[in-house]
Amino acid sequence: MNPLFSTRTLTLMSAGIAFNMVLGQLASMLKLPIFIDAIGTFVVALLAGPLAALVTGLVTNLIWGVLTSPVAAAFAPVAAVIGLVAGLCARAGGFRSLPRVLLSSLLVTLAVVVVATPIRAYLFGGATGSGADFVVAYMNALGSKLLESVAFTVFGVNLVDKVVSALIAWLLVRGLPERVRAQFPGAAQVR
């Protein structure tokens, strides 16, 4: 019997989910204007690849959906896509230098826009209870269609957030001791 994930990948995913749950809290403790609720997903993507990261994001939001807000559960596909795209970028060497990391986070953001915009626009009518709602309302008022306003807002908010998350995850993985990095096959792609 060969399971889908090795036990080590399984424990890594559990750590990634816990990072997602705890580090966002740290950002709000420091009063930083970002969610960074995907750093754990990025770390798993860098160390164990797209599939493990996809599951990490998905499970994070499902747990959150029950613990803190049903809104998070509705956005579970978004969290999954972040993991998938970040993992594919890492496989392709997208975390080997600073410019590549920035490019990878741009790709992740674009994927987020594609998946998050319909959820936000159709399921929630554009508002999710964050400061970004103001931007949606403002753009709407200036005459944009709702879908356009939402897509623009999602892009703007997520670009900052995903660049910061990807950079933090990259710095963290690069800073790992060699003894720890050697345990994960994906770490060789990160420099």
């Binding site: 080590r8 559990s14 750590a15 009518g125 309302a137 800073g175 345990q183």
Partner: protein
């Protein structure tokens, strides 16, 4: 009560909230749930948690659907009433689901939920993935408190200027992440050494046993959820 019973009720309740259009009925349901939640132990804290999500959502929905910025920019908005009513319905639905979820959470402990997950028909790996982050994040929060105390002693100030706070974020996160990731290999070895996932079915001691009526309730809820989902799609 078995931890899954509340969860089983949650699904048809959410679908029912989607099916009902009458705001007054939804509001009554929400009021009942909130009163029940307030009467639970730590009810105040749970109500506050509920409000922390739902009040910003109410503001955002009002702003976007009510198109108040349009009026402010001097445009004429028609159908504001209808748009706000739709927003109110959406808000009530989300509010009901969260209140019900919090009510369920107030009736279980992490320990009983973990045992129920491990005893369920889910593969042990899936049960582990759902249960262990809860345990680990509790440990990490305790660890974070300790680290932030240590950093504060070394002069990392949470009220520092903006850019210094960014550096504090890394200074606080790095030890936590390195510490946890160094343990990942050992955790895996410990699970392997106890033959974790070596059999498809594992025994679980002291697993919460559902009563006969609870089993029937689960099946009833599943059936009801199916019917409701069907009627939602058919509409």
């Amino acid at each position: 009560m078995h931890p899954f019973t509340g969860l089983a009720l949650l699904l048809p309740l959410g679908l029912l909230a989607m099916r009902i259009d009458l705001p007054s009925l939804l509001a009554v349901a929400l009021a009942l749930l909130l009163v029940a939640l307030g009467m639970r132990p730590l009810g105040g804290a749970r109500l506050r948690q509920w409000a922390l999500v739902l009040l910003p959502l109410a503001l955002g929905l009002t702003l976007v659907h009510g198109r108040y910025l349009d009026s402010w920019l001097g445009q004429v908005v028609d159908n504001r009433q209808a748009a706000l009513l739709a927003a109110l319905r959406l808000w009530l639905r989300v509010a009901i689901v969260l209140a019900a979820a919090l009510l369920w959470l107030s009736s279980i402990t992490t320990a009983s939920l973990t045992r129920a997950l491990f005893a369920s028909r889910l593969p042990p790996g899936v049960a582990y993935l759902l249960a262990s982050p809860l345990l680990l994040s509790e440990q990490l929060k305790a660890r974070l408190a300790a680290v932030s105390e240590a950093q504060a002693a070394r002069g990392v100030d949470v009220a520092a200027p903006f850019f210094r706070r960014w550096r504090s974020l890394l200074a606080l996160a790095a030890p936590l992440v390195v510490w946890t990731l160094s343990d990942v290999g050992e955790r895996a070895a410990a699970l392997d050494a106890r033959a974790f996932r070596s059999r498809l079915r594992r025994t679980t001691l002291d697993a919460p046993q559902p009563a006969i009526w609870e089993r029937w309730l689960w099946y009833g809820c599943a059936l009801l959820a199916l019917v409701l989902a069907g009627s939602l799609l058919w509409r």
